[in-house]
């Protein structure tokens, strides 16, 4: 027994157990990991250089860059999109003017599902939860006056990601910017859509094929673009714990790499462009441990399974968003504090880019004022708190290192479980992830109802009279205006060209890389909905099993 362990036990018996003020209860992280009173060197297993080491060196526990924020701050990237292309263009320019360094586009539900604004299924939804983009013209309008050679753009789009990406590429070309100089990300993480968020269109297999098409196309023509953002955010927000978020996300990531390698791609041609996206919620240390464990597990598994030659292929680069679910409708200003704590965890965890939520998001899309406070939150952390001075400043904390190990251990338990079920696709079909997430969500709700988990303003320190807050409303004329625009676009084109480009797309759907065919269809003025419908004819649509 180590000296630390012996001394710890002595201290525990003499001091803790005999403490006149006993500990209130047992303490757990939000994932349910039991936490001791205090941590000592013997709690951290293994060798320093194997597990922790230096930033910018394998296994990258301390960060992917040697100097992190001392060389370059994280990218401040506020997710925004509202109404139609005109409204979003205005908001994007506002954010750039106020210091945002990367764009991040939110699309409305019809767009997310590949439905044109003028489709009856889109009624009532156009422009409500993000921007409506049905045509090349919409994309051009949204990006009008923004220099695409200078800014990186992240687009939260999954089912129809390849098509929206096509709109972006063609818009850039029209503006004289070559694809090779474009920087940005399409989320394009279809696997997590079957687990959470649920904006799937096609069945899993063809969807996965389309994702690998974008990997291949990107590695050839858009070497600075991230063709995927492998996302835990939505899994977490749907109810998963931090452990589940991490395990399911990394399992999805490894599945994409496997598929791409199966296609014959060289791992070093695409792995450096894989990016990740995590949630940062209220359990401060557990979140930091999650980010550190994420980097370590990813680099270990990439090395072991795929043996890349480039060091960059081992990097887990990630974007973080603070937790929307952690925000309360009650006393909404308190959300500014929650977001600050979550943002700080992301920075201490070594994120590459960050979105901070606005305090009014339990009511609707953020107002300009709320979006400004969210932006300022990041700037205050970056420029006033000095947390950026040293890299991985919490590394070496006995508690944090122990917690990082715990996260890793529990993630591997899930890996084994998923593997024993036949992998990620099989586990999706069996409803495994959906059940796990639903179960966690239900348990969490119960804990809140029973007061075991405190939410200030919701189940403790409740006030009777809630202040009214200002809410952003998308005016009704936006939908009408957008429908008119799409209808006009459809009138002014050569239908025989549209038809022939869609026919080619259908014919090649299962055979070739579809990106060139999608781009050809876009140039011939096919709309988002038309391209998606052509593929639906070949691939069918996915209907999920209902799991409560």
């Amino acid at each position: 027994m180590s000296i630390y362990k012996k001394k710890y036990e002595r201290w525990y018996k003499e001091k803790v157990l005999k403490n006149p003020i006993p500990e209130k209860s047992e303490f757990y992280t939000s994932s349910g990991i039991k936490v001791k009173t205090v941590y000592v060197p013997s709690d951290v297993k293994g060798k320093y250089f194997d597990k922790i080491g230096f930033p910018g060196e394998y296994p990258f526990t301390r960060g992917i860059h040697p100097t992190m924020y001392r060389s370059r701050l994280w990218t401040i990237r506020e997710f925004s999109g509202l109404g139609d292309a005109f409204m979003t263009n205005k908001r994007l320019k506002y954010l750039i003017e106020h210091g945002e360094t990367g764009l991040s586009i939110a699309f409305d539900y019809p767009t997310l599902l590949g439905i044109d604004s003028d489709d009856p299924l889109a009624r009532g939804e156009v422009g409500k939860a993000g921007v409506a983009i049905s045509t090349l013209e919409d994309m051009k309008t949204m990006l009008d006056g923004i220099n695409l050679a200078d800014i990186s753009t992240s687009m939260t789009i999954n089912g129809p990601a390849a098509i929206i990406w096509g709109f972006y590429i063609v818009t850039a070309e029209i503006n004289g910017v070559s694809p090779s100089s474009l920087r940005g990300t399409i989320q394009n993480d279809i696997l997590k859509e079957y687990m959470a968020q649920k904006s799937f269109i096609f069945p899993p297999e063809p969807s996965l094929k389309l994702v690998i098409d974008t990997f291949e196309y990107g590695s050839k023509y858009l070497p600075q673009w991230n063709p995927i953002s492998i996302s835990g955010y939505h899994i977490r927000e749907a109810g998963a714990t931090a452990v589940q978020e991490l395990a399911f996300t990394l399992a999805n990531g490894l599945t994409y790499v496997e598929e791409a390698v199966k296609r014959g791609l060289d791992v070093d041609d695409f792995a450096p462009r894989l990016s990740f996206f995590f949630d940062s919620s209220m359990d401060f240390f557990e979140e930091i441990a999650k980010f550190r464990a994420a980097r370590r597990i990813w680099s270990k598994e990439m090395k072991r399974r795929f043996k890349p030659k480039k060091e960059r292929s081992l990097w887990l680069r990630f974007h973080t968003q603070t937790s929307g679910v952690s925000l309360t409708a009650q006393q909404p200003e308190n959300n500014i504090i929650r977001t600050t704590i979550e943002a700080l965890a992301a920075v201490l965890g070594g994120t590459q880019s960050l979105h901070t939520n606005s305090y009014d998001e339990a009511y609707g899309l953020p107002t300009e004022k709320a979006a400004m406070i969210a932006l300022r939150t990041q700037e205050i952390i970056a420029y006033e708190s000095n947390v950026i001075n040293a890299v991985d400043p919490l590394g070496g904390s006995y508690y944090l290192e122990w917690l990082t190990d715990q996260m890793e251990e529990k993630v591997y338990e899930y890996f084994d479980k998923i593997e024993s079920m036949g992998g990620v696709l099989e586990s999706i079909k069996k409803g495994f992830f959906q059940k796990e997430i639903a179960e966690s969500a239900y348990r969490l709700q119960k804990e809140i109802e029973e007061g075991k988990r405190v939410l200030v303003g919701v189940n403790k320190y409740v006030i009777k009279e809630e202040p009214e807050i200002k809410v952003l409303k998308i005016p009704e004329y936006v939908e009408t205006r957008q429908i008119r625009r799409v209808k006009e676009y459809k009138k002014n084109r050569d239908m025989s060209k549209v038809e022939s480009s869609l026919n080619k797309l259908r014919a090649k759907a299962n055979e070739e890389n579809l990106m060139p065919y999608i781009i050809d269809a876009i140039k011939n003025k096919a709309t988002l909905g038309e391209i998606v419908n052509a593929l639906k004819e070949v691939w069918g649509e996915y209907v999920e099993p209902i799991i409560i």
Binding site: D108, Y109, P110, L112, L113, I115, L121, A122, R123, G124, E125, K128, A129, E193, A196, Q197, K198, S199, E237, A238, G239, V325, L327, T328, A329, Q330, E361, A362, Y363, G364, L365, A438, A441, Y442, Q445, E449, L455, G457, V458, N459, E468, V471, K473, I474, E544, I546, I547, I548
Partner: protein, 134 residues
């Protein structure tokens, strides 16, 4: 109808958004509270929801929308219930819904809108009070 017949509830997600956490947690909690609950799954049209409500002879229709499209979908459901002579069903709603919209929805016949952070016991009590069996 025997007085013991349990209250029957349809939890539905009209529109395109896939945020089903709230709907699922509520469906399960209402089951545990002793109600008969049917959950439609995501991406339902108002037409489908109203038909299911009538076919299943439910007492309560619970609508969940988090995409901002609540005004359209809730109105459609209320309109169709009227059209098919099923206005007696109690309609409740939840989601990301601003206060002003809540009031508007209550005016057109939505019995109550429960926002984020609502204690489920409150919803259970509400339903029990409103749906009295003879």
């Amino acid at each position: 109808m025997s007085p013991e017949k349990r209250i029957k509830i349809l939890i539905a997600k009209p529109g395109l958004d896939g945020h089903d956490r709230g709907a699922k947690v509520l469906a399960r909690s209402l089951m545990e509270a002793g109600f008969d609950v049917i959950y439609t799954g995501i991406r339902q049209t108002p037409e489908k929801i109203v038909k299911a409500a009538i076919q299943e002879d439910v007492d309560v229709v619970g609508l969940s929308v988090l995409s901002g499209a609540h005004m359209y979908h809730f109105k459609e459901v209320i309109k169709l219930l009227k059209k098919y002579g099923a206005s007696d069903k109690l309609v409740i709603g939840g989601g990301i819904i601003p206060e002003k919209d809540k009031k508007k929805l209550e005016k057109i016949g939505v019995a109550a809108v429960f926002g984020p952070g609502t204690n489920i016991k409150k919803i259970v009590e509400f339903i029990k009070n409103k749906v009295k069996r003879n």
